[in-house]
């Protein structure tokens, strides 16, 4: 009997696979999933170009060693040029302020950082150093993008698109009855459709996460540890598992699944401000607990709102993974009960 159910599930997955991967309705899922890839690719290109430019300039017009660090405010323009030579970066700017003050900016590079010296009427007033980005900085940026865009928005809405369509999309297309007229238990049908959605979602979002991680390491000699990489990929897959079950159920219970999706989004977004006990009744709490780098949103948040943020100890890895599986199982049980009572009444749907 189990062998028969497996065969039936595989048949459902085969039927659904093309729809979940290649549906015209789902093109935006790819855009959402791969938007961070484009962002990191753009960042890499820009960074590598800047780095090459600086190194080429420094090689062509070397600045004496240690001279850049010896420049102090109060020095005159001539003193600076005497020590460093003419600016080696083509970015000299001259402006005239409201009080007819002559302002000038001289830029230099040692091949890594860029130094911009600001003069007012020939006297050095400001020194700005734009250091080359480091892997540690980019790692933190990745963690922030992953937790606050990729998990909360990209995978969330991607799962809305993929999983709500598994049943609701076919009710709209008036083709669900073909499944319901086959000698297959509704629970097996639901499991097959969920598996198809999960395969598609995991493939799309872990591929995107893997590409982002590759692009993160590309400009640097160092890279994330194998543990960190597998943690990010695992969290992306678990997010698909958890959100997928929620939105599969939403497609069965609600005529317009966008309403429950909006409700879940509000709940998940408000997670930061919820008391500790309520935080734990969400998918994002367990997912963030599993992320290898803690990305704090506090810097981006209004200080008044920051006061409302409650901090909660992250769940242990075992508890977080078990919690996600438990939430998924409970939601799928409710969904399969609903599927068992499902009637075809396309007119009303």
């Amino acid at each position: 009997m189990i062998a028969k159910y497996w065969a039936q599930m595989r048949a459902v997955v085969r039927l659904e696979m093309k729809k979940t991967f290649l549906s015209r309705r789902g093109l935006w899922v790819y855009l959402l999933a791969f938007a961070p890839v484009l962002m990191f690719a753009g960042h890499d290109l820009s960074m590598m170009r800047t780095r090459e430019e600086r190194r080429a300039i420094a090689a062509a017009h070397p600045v004496p060693a240690g001279a850049l660090l010896s420049i102090q405010p109060g020095m005159t323009r001539e003193e600076v040029i005497a020590r460093l030579g003419e600016p080696n970066v083509d970015s000299r700017q001259i402006r005239f302020g409201g009080g007819r003050i002559r302002r000038e900016f001289l830029s230099y590079t040692d091949g890594q950082s860029r130094y911009v010296f600001g003069f007012a009427d020939g006297e050095l007033q400001s020194i700005s150093v734009r250091e080359e980005e480091t892997f540690a900085q980019d790692r933190l940026i990745f963690a922030t993008v992953f937790q606050f865009f990729f998990l909360r928005l990209a995978i969330f809405f991607g799962c809305v698109g993929i999983f709500t369509n598994l049943f609701r999309g076919e009710l709209i297309d008036k083709s669900l009855h073909y499944y319901l007229l086959a000698p297959i238990r509704r629970e097996v049908l639901l499991a097959g459709k969920y598996a198809a959605g999960l395969i598609a979602a995991v493939a799309i979002f872990t591929a995107s996460a893997a590409l982002q991680l590759w692009l993160l390491s590309l400009p640097y000699e160092s890279s994330l540890s194998g543990h960190e990489i597998s943690a990010y990929l695992g969290v992306a897959a678990l997010a698909c598992l958890g959100y997928g079950s929620v939105f599969l159920a939403a497609g069965l219970f609600f005529r317009n699944p966008l309403l429950p999706a909006a409700g879940v989004l509000i709940w998940e977004s408000a997670n930061l401000f919820l008391p500790s006990a309520l935080k734990k009744i969400s998918v994002i709490y367990y997912l963030q607990s599993l992320c290898p780098v803690v990305a704090s949103p506090h810097r981006e948040i209004n200080p008044v709102l920051a006061l409302l943020i409650s901090s909660t100890e992250p769940a242990s890895t075992i508890l977080a993974v078990a919690g996600l599986f438990a939430v998924t199982a409970v939601v799928l049980v409710f969904a399969s009960r609903r599927a068992r009572r499902l009637e075809i009444n396309y007119g009303a749907d």
Partner: protein
């Protein structure tokens, strides 16, 4: 092989009612349908599709019970090994060819690939769609879509075949072939339950008829009892073709033609006849004589008048 007990060879409705909110679907229906061709006949909204959906578990009765050869629709694993249903919905899973459509849904039975392929080709052959089997269904004509649905319903060799308006959109030749297929299936001892809103249409093919009106069964029984009365009632048919005027000249070869007039859009002919059977046979000849017939569809919206005629205008028992 021992024949099944009588109880298990019937499709049974026991005092079945189904309401859609406050709207009546069917009410207090008690039926025992034996093997052979049974037609559910009634105007739109009379409850034909509701009865068919109840038989196949797509909807559940509000009251009463349904059993198909002893199996309840609540048990899809057993039920759909016995039942094939071609619905009225003209929708298909996207992107599939005719063959893929039948094959993919046969795989849901859990059968091996070779068996599913064999059954798919057999079903496609029975509805004569071999040449179009590898084309996408999205490119099929209405008649081809009807036939591929029929093939899907019969592919697993069901003992009970439920067909909702299966002759809609078929041209005369295919209609005749399809009717022959129904007869063949019924002769093999199967239940072939067909719905139609045109009494004259099913008159040609049915062993028994169930007349429905406003959700009630108003008459049921052997077709012979109703036939003579039906024949007296003229039926209106719309024929879409390339030369409606030439067709009009031909149809008056039959003395049973009461009226023929060109359709307002100039692309068809409305014919009123007292003998639909003879008219369809004549159409077969006309189709072979060079008039390009695109579709033939009963245009008699006044089926209620047939009911009033048959049941003396009596309101169904409410």
């Amino acid at each position: 092989m021992t024949p099944p007990p009588v109880e298990e060879s019937l499709v049974r409705f026991e005092n079945v009612s189904r309401f859609y909110g406050e709207v009546l679907g069917v009410n207090r229906v008690t039926l025992a349908i034996p093997p052979g061709i049974t037609s559910l006949v009634g105007p739109n909204g009379s409850g034909k599709t509701t009865l068919m959906n109840l038989m196949t578990g797509l909807i559940r009765p509000t009251r009463g019970s349904v059993r198909i050869l002893g199996v309840t629709p609540e048990d899809p694993e057993k039920l759909f090994a016995l039942v094939g249903y071609s619905t009225q919905f003209d929708a298909f899973p996207k992107g599939l060819s005719g063959f893929q459509f039948i094959y993919s849904f046969l795989r849901l039975f859990g059968w091996p690939r070779e068996k599913c392929e064999r059954l798919s080709w057999r079903a496609i052959g029975r509805v004569r769609l071999n040449d179009a089997a590898h084309r996408k269904i999205a490119g099929y004509s209405k008649g081809m879509r009807q036939r591929i649905k029929l093939a899907q319903a019969i592919a697993h060799d069901p003992r009970v075949l439920v067909l909702d308006e299966p002759l809609n959109g078929l041209d005369p030749l295919v209609r005749a072939e399809t009717i022959a297929l129904f007869r063949e299936l019924a002769a093999e001892g199967r239940h072939v339950i067909v719905s139609s809103h045109v009494l004259h249409e099913v008159d040609l093919i049915s062993d028994q008829v169930i007349l429905l009106s406003n959700g009630y069964v108003v008459a049921e029984g052997k077709i012979q009892g109703l036939r003579s009365e039906i024949c007296d009632h003229p039926m209106q048919i719309l024929i879409r073709c390339n030369r409606p005027a030439a067709l009009a000249a031909r149809v008056f070869e039959l003395d049973s033609i009461v009226e023929a007039r060109l359709h307002a859009d100039g692309g068809g002919l409305l014919v009123k006849t007292r003998d639909a059977g003879r008219f369809y046979r004549l159409l077969n000849h006309i189709a072979l004589d060079g008039i390009d017939i695109e579709s033939v569809a009963p245009a008699d919206d006044n089926v209620n008048s047939v009911y009033e005629y048959l049941i003396g205008g009596e309101e169904p028992g409410k």
